[in-house]
């Protein structure tokens, strides 16, 4: 195995080297780096051109330019990377750091959301194959998949930012809209949950009544401008989440797991009270530390309650702890929404990753940066949800037709157990490899999304570098994306080799 891995690393290195050479040569030949100067009517145009030729080494032969770049990069081995400077003299190393940071911020949440939503929809549509819901999701998936990003982004800015901001200044929903939204959600709910017509009617009616009541209540308490959940609601939502998790993981019949999850919720609510003062103005290290603590506590709780189903109990309480942390953060953030609106009356900007010179505390800044993430995340998620849901659906359908699923059913297992334990897990195997490759691709950034929302990420680094026929930023981009792609490929190969010894030769 070790030999196999070493050989893979050696090959990957050679692939990278060859690709970097190709990339460099293609970049420096992709256009005219002096183009803007040629159109200039400065009197000392010739001198300016000469200066740029010297500065960028344009008169050096191509192999020398590549060699200079390569020697700079090879210093990375001793942790003194020299990625050069752009044609404006900006240090590419620091540009790369900033670009990578902002791209990761942008794509991480979008990728996670796309995976969760995509897989959930894929599974649901597979279970309700050929239903109205299935067709709607399929149609929606293809629609979103084929959306031109720049156009969708313009629309989203119009409705998600400009009109939302206009609306939030007042912050009430008109009765007609309330009824429409409730009706729509009721319709969607019955389509997802299915059943005979009587059950569908009850689902739709119940959802409609609940949503309508909730929306009217929100209007009445000025919820959109002044929202709050409060500890009671946090506890209720937490319990709800715990029950959902347990019913998916083992089924509610397994009391040990259920108690483990509920205990986690209880500990979460108690610590929320106990840590109130810390959470009022935390820092990122504190928040992350608390999160780690929550995971450890949840594992302990699961282990203590678990007994014979210890593994499931630990898993269920961990998931519950993650959800609970999310709920608590959401609650605190909601509580700061009003003061955030006070600082920024139009909460969602159409450009930028943060408001310049924003003066709020931790949670106001959190909301500010979160609000700026919202629109690009929606766009990126919509686009990648399509492929994940389609892959999951087909893979799930294939698995559902396998003999072992039929065997499980004929043994009299509940449908939940058949789907979550036997079908879903096996259906996930091909998805995992897609996720691995997709992630490598996402590091490259989302060029158009970054540009239209005014983020400076990897895509922008690549785009502007190529535009100026400036090899250094392009190569920095290549270095990161190339290594990510090769690394992920290698990991996939190793995973295959681990699963299938025939590949290990």
């Amino acid at each position: 195995m070790l030999r196999f891995i070493l050989r893979r690393i050696g090959i990957s290195f050679l692939v990278l080297l060859g690709a970097s050479f190709l990339m460099y040569i293609l970049t420096i030949n992709s256009g005219d780096p002096l183009e803007d100067l040629r159109e200039s009517n400065a009197e000392n145009r010739e001198q300016l051109m000469e200066r740029r030729e010297d500065f960028m080494g344009l008169n050096d032969p191509w192999y020398l330019r590549y060699w200079n770049w390569l020697t700079g990069v090879s210093k990375c081995v001793v942790l003194q990377c020299d990625l050069g400077v752009t044609r404006n003299g900006v240090d590419v190393g620091s540009l790369l750091g900033q670009a990578a940071g902002s791209t990761l911020r942008l794509v991480t949440i979008a990728t996670l959301a796309a995976i969760v939503i995509g897989i959930a929809f894929g599974m649901l549509t597979a279970i309700r194959q050929y239903s109205g819901f299935d067709y709607t999701v399929t149609f929606g998936a293809f629609l979103f998949y084929s959306l031109p990003v720049f156009w969708a982004a313009v629309l989203l800015k119009e409705f998600g930012a400009i009109r939302f901001n206009d609306w939030i200044a007042v912050g009430t929903i008109s009765p007609v809209v309330v009824v429409l939204v409730a009706a729509l959600l009721g319709f969607v709910a019955q389509a997802i949950l299915g059943g005979d017509s009587r059950r569908r009617l009850i689902t739709a009616g119940g959802t409609f009544a609940f949503v309508a009541a909730a929306l009217f209540y929100f209007n009445a308490v000025d919820f959109y401008r002044n929202p709050a959940m409060g500890p009671a609601l946090v506890a209720v939502v937490g319990v709800g989440a715990a029950v959902l998790v347990v019913s998916l993981v083992t089924g509610l019949a397994n009391r040990r797991v259920l108690y483990a999850a509920l205990t986690t919720v209880a500990v979460g609510v108690i610590s929320y009270f106990a840590l109130g003062s810390v959470l009022a103005e935390p820092t990122w290290p504190i928040l992350i530390g608390l999160f780690v603590l929550a995971i450890i506590l949840a594992s302990v709780i699961g282990a203590l309650w678990g007994g014979y189903s210890r593994r499931q109990a630990i898993f269920a309480s961990n998931v519950t702890a993650v959800l609970m942390s999310g709920i608590i953060v959401a609650d605190i953030a909601l509580a700061h929404w009003a003061s955030f609106l006070g600082l920024k009356s139009r909460p969602i900007s159409t450009i930028g990753s943060e408001t310049p010179n924003f003066t709020g505390g931790f949670w106001e800044s959190f909301l500010d940066k979160g609000a700026q993430l919202l629109l690009p995340t929606i766009i990126l998620t919509l686009i990648s949800v399509a492929s994940y849901s389609r892959y999951t659906r087909s893979s799930m359908l294939e698995v559902m037709n396998q003999d072992y699923v039929r065997t499980a059913r004929s043994k009299g297992l509940s449908e939940r157990a058949v789907i979550t334990k036997h079908a879903f897990r096996n259906a996930l195997i091909p998805i995992t490899t897609i996720v691995a490759f997709d992630f490598a691709g996402l590091i490259g950034g989302a060029v158009i999304t970054e540009t239209v929302f005014g983020w400076k990420g990897m895509g922008e680094l690549f785009r502007s570098g190529l535009l100026h026929v400036d090899p250094n930023p392009v190569m920095a981009f290549f270095l990161v994306t190339g290594i990510a792609a090769v690394l992920m490929n290698m990991l996939a190969d190793i995973a295959y080799a681990y699963l299938d010894p025939r590949i290990r030769r």
Binding site: E43, N44, G89, L95, L143, G352, N357, G454, S464
Partner: protein, 601 residues
């Protein structure tokens, strides 16, 4: 099957919705009336091209945000070839004071708050500059002779006295070619005199801003007196470290890291706000407390780095307060649809489109005036302007001069003296007659080259083709991304279609129209034109300048160097709550008078 049909119906409906929104969303419900959008300009009928008294007495709290594009700010020293760009100068122009600046139509205006200039003698040219007694750097040191001596030295000394400039100054050594000796004065003087060895018609814009010499002295560990002497006498022991600091020390190669306050010493109405720079996002300036003159109207000025096509929506959402979007019909429609909250200002810019003939030997147009005239008679300039420019700038006209723009005071006078209107209208009969007179063969190929892709120029060539092909030419569109790097130097064209950006300089056209000019791509040569330029460039008398411009324009029309077409349109839009904004035709962008902007409460 039933299901399939339903899906198809939904698909059609959805596509329809997409198309529908695509049509209506950006442009709004009704077509923009171009005339309406100009109302904003009606408010301020200021005829003086220079800044007028704003009446501001104190700086108001608040922030105004502006964006010129996605490019990052590069450093305080925007005078190196690497950092010299509009993205940098919109910021640096706010933190620097200069003796002169460009007014809205390109007029050179004097900044009397900063200092005065006085011509002591016209020939030989001798100019005395006096800095305002109150003018200080943001650290309290006075602005004085040493700073301007440093500015002169950056354009004087070469590495080891050779060819290569010691200081990496973007303008090269031009100033010292005219003023070889250091300006006369001593450390601490508020006035100093420049002795021009040869007269420079553009002397006014030779001396503008300066960098703080005392900061350089401090950074390289010498006293200011020592530095002054070294700069005057060319002492390389001190010059070399000074140049090194000047070249590198004022650059900001790591985005987001503002320069240390000890070197970020400025003398403009604004200065850098602490922690005001976020890499890739924005840079914020704040009012300079040490500024002696009229205080800036608004405390903070934020420059956001976002791509031009995001600006209109950002303005609508209040993320940006002032924008200068691409001047297209689409943009105008979007701006118009926003409504009253946004004011739009339309107008010309100091960039002008022209068709230039190729006079290189062997070219059909070389030595064939009749053929050039035939071409000029068939180019539908009015049609081009009416169709492509008027929708964006209702007041656009066909441009009939090269050295003056239609919106400048002397335009009518110059055109009247140089051009009789013979090419105003397309006259195909006359063109055919000229064509026959020229002896050119029917179907003479005319390759019109330009830098592609450029839809507007493609349209222009189409208009020309549909008109001139009737005369006997065969117009060929050779627009190409490599136009400037390959086609133009190789001379593989008959007519070049491109634009020059007016510089506001008086004698810059010499480079284009004189026989040995660096930008005379078409190898035009006329002794009379050369001579007129020589006369123009060697005097500082505005009357002679005007006289010679008339002579040159007439010669260029008679000889048909080329055909001017129009001045490029420009658009500025800003939140209606702002006051004091004035669109400018120059490349200084609308921020040229940012210190006069205030938000009406």
């Amino acid at each position: 099957m039933k299901i399939r049909r339903t899906s198809a119906a939904i698909a059609v409906a959805a596509t329809g919705a997409l198309l529908f929104t695509a049509c209506t969303s950006p442009a709004g419900t009704d077509d923009p009336e171009p005339g309406e959008t100009t109302t904003a300009e009606g408010e301020d009928e200021i005829t003086d091209p220079c800044k007028v008294d704003s009446g501001i007495t104190e700086t108001a709290e608040g922030n105004i945000s502006y964006s010129v594009g996605e490019d990052e700010w590069l450093g305080i020293n925007g005078d190196t070839p690497e950092t010299y760009s509009v993205y940098n100068s919109v910021v640096n122009g706010r933190v620097e004071s200069a003796f002169v600046y460009f007014g809205v139509d390109g007029t050179v205006c004097e900044n009397t708050e900063f200092g005065t200039l006085e011509v002591l003698s016209e020939d030989p040219l001798q100019v005395e500059y006096t800095v305002n007694d109150d003018a200080v750097w943001s650290d309290g040191e006075p602005v004085q002779y040493a700073d301007y001596l440093l500015a002169w030295a950056t354009q004087k000394y070469t590495v080891d006295g050779g060819e290569d400039a010691l200081f990496n100054y973007v303008g090269g050594l031009e100033l010292s070619e005219f003023v070889p000796e250091p300006p006369t004065g001593a450390n601490g003087d508020k006035s100093f005199v420049y002795d021009y060895e040869t007269v420079n018609a553009d002397w006014k814009i030779q001396v503008t801003t300066a960098k703080p010499a005392h900061v350089v002295a401090e950074q390289i560990g010498v006293t200011l007196d020592e530095l002054v002497v070294a700069l005057q006498e060319g002492d390389y022991e001190i010059l070399e470290p000074a140049a090194e600091f000047w070249n590198e020390g004022w650059l900001s190669p790591v985005p987001g890291e503002l320069p240390d306050p000890s070197i970020a010493v400025v003398n403009g109405p604004y200065t850098f706000k602490e922690n005001g720079w976020t890499a890739g996002q924005s840079l914020t300036l704040e009012a300079n407390e040490a500024y002696w003159g009229t205080p800036p109207g608004t405390d903070e000025l934020t420059f956001r780095f976002s791509a031009a096509d995001t600006h209109v929506q950002a303005l609508q959402n209040g993320d940006l307060d002032v924008i200068e979007p691409q001047a297209t019909v689409d943009t105008l429609g979007q701006l118009d649809a926003i409504g009253d909250t946004v004011s739009v200002a339309l107008g010309d810019t100091l960039t002008w489109e022209h068709l230039d003939f190729n006079f290189a030997e062997g070219n059909v147009f070389a030595d064939n005036l009749a053929l050039r005239e035939a071409f000029a008679l068939c180019v539908p300039r009015q049609q081009i302007v009416d169709n492509l420019i008027v929708p964006v700038n209702p007041e656009a006209v066909v441009m009939n001069a090269r050295e003056v723009f239609p919106f400048q005071d002397t335009y009518d006078e110059v055109v009247e003296a140089s051009y009789d209107g013979r090419y105003d209208q397309v006259d195909l009969d006359a063109a055919i007659a000229k064509f026959e007179e020229s002896g050119a063969e029917e179907g003479t190929q005319v390759r019109i080259g330009y830098s592609a892709p450029n839809p507007r120029r493609t349209n222009e060539v189409e208009f020309i083709k549909s008109s001139c092909d009737q005369v006997g030419f065969e117009i060929v569109d050779v627009g190409d991304p490599d136009f400037f790097s390959v086609t133009l130097p190789a001379g593989d064209y008959e007519v070049a279609l491109f634009a020059w950006a007016g510089s506001g300089q008086i004698a810059s056209g010499r480079n284009i129209y004189s026989t040995t000019g660096g930008q005379n791509y078409g190898q035009f040569s006329s002794d009379a034109v050369d001579e007129a330029w020589q006369v123009l460039a060697s005097t500082v008398d505005p009357n002679i300048h005007l006289e010679q411009v008339k002579v040159i324009e007439k010669l260029l029309w008679d000889e048909l160097f080329g055909i001017p077409v129009f001045a490029h349109p420009g658009v500025a839009a800003y939140s209606s709550s702002l006051e004091g904004l004035r669109k400018t035709a120059t490349q200084d962008q609308i921020v040229w008078n940012a210190e006069q902007w205030v938000r009406a409460s």
